[in-house]
Subunit: 88 residues, 4 copies
Amino acid sequence: MQSDRRENVLRRLSRIEGQVRGLARMVEEDKHCVDIMIQVAAAKSALNKVGLIVMEGHAHGCLAEAIKRGEGNKAVDALMEVIGQYVK
Amino acid sequence: MQSDRRENVLRRLSRIEGQVRGLARMVEEDKHCVDIMIQVAAAKSALNKVGLIVMEGHAHGCLAEAIKRGEGNKAVDALMEVIGQYVK
Amino acid sequence: MQSDRRENVLRRLSRIEGQVRGLARMVEEDKHCVDIMIQVAAAKSALNKVGLIVMEGHAHGCLAEAIKRGEGNKAVDALMEVIGQYVK
Amino acid sequence: MQSDRRENVLRRLSRIEGQVRGLARMVEEDKHCVDIMIQVAAAKSALNKVGLIVMEGHAHGCLAEAIKRGEGNKAVDALMEVIGQYVK
């Protein structure tokens, strides 16, 4: 991963870690379920974004390299298998 | 799209069209909501599969070509934008 | 389902059927994969909306009735099982 | 939330926090993007499960109470709005 992309991803992960800790606090303090569900959805959406940013870096980087080296087929298959875990 | 992939996609789309028509029939015949929701989820999952098959063909074909021609960046950006509509 | 909700759902399903047929046409006419993927995502999102509308009708109707009759637990479990197919 | 459900949710959140920290480590150690994406998908799926468990507790608890008190409509609308954030 390029260093600015890596910084971006690390910053987001650190924020998500905080969101998950905040969720545990909400549960302990017996907050409204609907509010908890909203925050779970927010954390999930933040994780999705991280997945997309990593995927984008991968497509511009490793995948493009593999295709240029003539090893694109295997790399595309590996990527598609992962994407299948995001698209359900 | 390669012709076997195209046939596969067309067969799936024709089946999905039948699923959607079947859904309308279930609604008209006042079937249980839960059963209708299960069938909606099945049609949605079948559409997802079509999206993944088209994506895979694209990645092996046009995307790989674009990368080899040195126009990979634009092609990757276009693909990532689409993937972002599937990953929410 | 109440009759206005039913009409709404049927109208949406008929539109989705058209979208799916349009997708088959796009594939036959060899349109760009990215455009096909965008239309698949649109149809999928329209199906999701149908699922939510049916779910809402169910929650206001059958589910509420079942809870009032003291049979809420079974009805909630059935609903949650279906929701689990939408939330992956 | 009932206490066994709360314990279950807290245990899961603590595990997810660990997963997110593990993700940051993977990024720092420059692990393969595909492996990172797989772990992001796993954390996302674990969060989804938490969302469903909270939703289920809510439906059996607060929602059922609200319906019995005759305030079901508002409670169902609030729940459906949240579910709409999970089903996209």
